[in-house]
């Protein structure tokens, strides 16, 4: 489903070139619950950004569902993200002026769906992530865990085949982090959505069905757990 072939990404800091990814090759199949792990600066987020079509690679090729994304133009990438990918961020990144319901519905409004369908799908997903009755709360009136649940609902509501989560539990305490991972796992199994998440937390790695370790921009191990 996702093919990452010899991908290279360099960053330029003044005259210094930082090699974030040095020829990463990886294949991910549908429905995987895969963790990209490694220490800070190992290239986890860079790899996630490249798969998520929000960054440009310097070499190699990535294809998702047989579409080569590395050669796509900006607008094509935007459309691709809108239709195929869901994102969960470390700091939730909810729109503070919108309620939980509106934050989720926002993604569907980008797909120009009828209002009735937007409402039904939004309410259903919020119920699924355990936020029934909190639809009208703004992020400031939700706990960190609840905010991340809204973010998960926002990522799932358009039924994407792939969800990318960059350190989704890093801002949460361990109990809440565990709850969030349980929820992600549940959604992965229920919807057969491919979850790719980055982490450097041992507890989070334990939840993954496949653990890809990165070190200095290269894959140091690729282990299937179950």
């Amino acid at each position: 489903m996702i093919k990452v072939d010899n991908v290279v990404r360099n960053y330029h800091a003044g005259e210094t070139v930082v090699k974030a990814l040095r020829g990463v090759t990886l294949e991910i199949t549908k429905g995987e619950f895969i963790s990209i792990a490694g220490p800070s600066g190992s290239g986890k987020t860079t790899l996630l950004n490249l798969i998520g079509c929000i960054d440009q690679m310097d070499g190699g090729e990535i294809s998702i569902k047989d579409e080569v994304i590395s050669t796509m133009k900006k607008k094509e990438k935007t459309n691709f993200r809108r239709n195929n990918l869901g994102f969960i961020f470390q700091t939730y990144n909810l729109i503070p002026v919108l309620t939980a319901y509106e934050n989720v519905a926002f993604v569907l409004s980008l797909l120009n769906l009828p209002e009735k369908e937007v409402k039904e799908r939004t309410m259903a997903i919020l119920k699924e992530v355990g936020l029934e009755g909190m639809e009208h709360r703004r992020p400031s009136r939700l706990s960190g865990g609840q905010q991340q649940r809204v973010a998960i609902a926002r990522a799932l509501v358009k039924n994407p085949e792939i969800i990318l989560a960059d350190e989704p539990t890093a801002n949460l305490d361990s109990d809440t982090g565990r709850e969030i991972l349980e929820l992600m796992k549940e959604m992965n199994e229920k919807h057969q959505t491919t979850f790719i998440f980055s982490t450097h937390d041992k507890m989070v790695m334990d939840y993954a069905s496949r653990l890809v370790m990165l070190h200095d921009g290269q894959i140091s191990s690729d282990e299937r757990r179950k």
């Binding site: 929000i54 960054d55 935007t78 809108r82 990144n93 729109i95 919108l98 993604v107 980008l110």
Partner: protein
């Protein structure tokens, strides 16, 4: 689209302080624009009125060659039968009055003025029985009385009287040359002081009865000009042509007030250009303020912007969301600006600003003596309202464009 509008509205209420500060900057700019426009438009309208009421009348009949030589004030380039012309005009429903303008030396004696002296002066001889039908001196008397036909008397403008230290009851002597070139000295009593709202007139006004001047200067009924009053809504140029037709080619010409005040009109036009520049600068200042706050508003939401872009929101829609927000600020600022402008206009229209201290000794071109009063101009208010919105949108466009140039990972990392 509905979502974008709702998001923009919610963001306006999210940053209440910023919204109010930016809207306030727009409001102050628009208020200034409305206020200055009202004041200058009022000054122009009043100047034109004062010009016609005290200086040029609506139109003037002159000897064909007089206008070219007007600075010499030639007595021989005159109208020989003014009463016949005035009668013809009267028969056609047009009010007119004759005047004789000549230059002379004004001699001041020590007995009245404390010391002897003399200065050049322009004397306007008027027909006291008709002059106030054409000109508006009727309400300007501040001391003494008006002129009577045939008396050896003068009226002075209040600033002129002040400058020479004249008071009612003082005597002056005017030395001039009569028709044919002989010298004549006229002893005249100051019987009244007029405070004319037209500063150009008030600075040098010296009026005497035309019958007295006629006798002293042997004009035999001839005058240098006939001034015509036309209704406010009359087409002056058409009326000028009509009057010209009544003169039967007597070597006379009719000039409209616009033709006589060509210098003033050119000056007013130049002032309008200058005013537009001032107004443009006011808008630039407001625009810089708005741009700055919009820039801050956009940059503090870079992360949010990155999130929206990663979720697949197009740059066009993001730009549109910020444009709606800016338009919202523009609407609030414009409403506030127009309301403030109405209050400012209420002051300038009803009370005005007294620039007497400035205009007393300085000629700025406007025919206003002291108080600048504004006029209501709904057109400017409507224009200001829409300009406020358009400027807000335009100045929000550039920072949004700049922010959208950042790559998405940088946006998401932004703190």
């Amino acid at each position: 689209m509905k979502f974008l509008i709702s998001l923009a509205f919610k963001n306006l209420t999210r940053y209440k302080r910023r919204t109010l500060i930016t809207a306030g900057a727009i409001a102050v700019g628009l208020m200034m624009y409305i206020f200055i426009d009202s004041m200058l438009m009022g000054a122009e309208i009043e100047s034109v009125r004062n010009l016609k009421w005290f200086e040029t009348a609506s139109a003037r009949i002159l000897n064909d060659e007089y206008w070219e030589n007007r600075f010499q004030k030639p007595m021989d380039l005159n109208i020989s039968s003014p009463d016949k012309i005035i009668k013809t005009l009267d028969d056609n429903g047009i009010t007119a009055t004759k005047r004789m303008v000549f230059s002379g030396d004004l001699i001041l004696n020590a007995e009245d003025f404390g010391e002897d002296g003399n200065l050049a002066a322009t004397v306007t001889a008027i027909d006291p029985t008709r002059d106030f039908d054409v000109f508006n001196f009727g309400t300007t008397l501040v001391d003494g009385r008006f002129l009577e036909p045939g008396e050896d008397a003068v009226l002075l403008g209040s600033w002129f009287a002040e400058d020479i230290g004249a008071e009612v009851g003082y005597w002056i002597t005017v030395v001039t040359r009569g028709n044919g070139g002989f010298y004549e000295a006229m002893d005249l009593e100051i019987v009244g002081i007029l405070n004319c709202p037209n500063p150009n007139v008030n600075r040098q006004l010296l009026m005497m009865p035309i019958s007295t001047a006629d006798e002293y200067l042997a004009m035999e009924g001839a005058v240098t000009e006939i001034n015509v009053s036309l209704p406010e809504n009359a087409d002056v140029n058409m009326e000028v042509e009509r009057i010209q037709g009544m003169l039967n080619g007597d070597n006379l010409t009719v000039m409209s007030w616009e033709a006589m005040a060509v210098d003033y009109l050119a000056l007013a036009e130049a002032k309008r250009g200058g005013t537009s520049m001032i107004l443009f600068l006011i808008f630039i200042i407001a625009a810089v303020g708005i741009s700055n706050t919009m820039l801050m508003a956009i940059f503090e939401r870079i992360k949010e912007l990155g999130m929206m872009r990663s979720l697949g929101m197009s740059n066009t829609k993001i730009r549109l969301a910020f444009m709606f927000e800016a338009a919202g600020i523009g609407v609030i600022g414009s409403v506030m600006g127009v309301v403030l402008g109405i209050f400012a206009d209420m002051f300038i229209v009803n009370i005005g600003i007294d620039y007497g201290f400035l205009l007393r000794d300085m000629d700025i071109g406007y025919r206003l003596q002291a108080i600048f009063r504004g006029v209501w101009n709904p057109g400017t208010m409507v224009k200001a309202f829409f300009m406020g919105i358009i400027i807000s949108i335009v100045v929000a466009y550039l920072p949004t464009k700049r922010a959208l140039k950042m790559d998405i990972p940088s946006c998401l990392r932004h703190q």
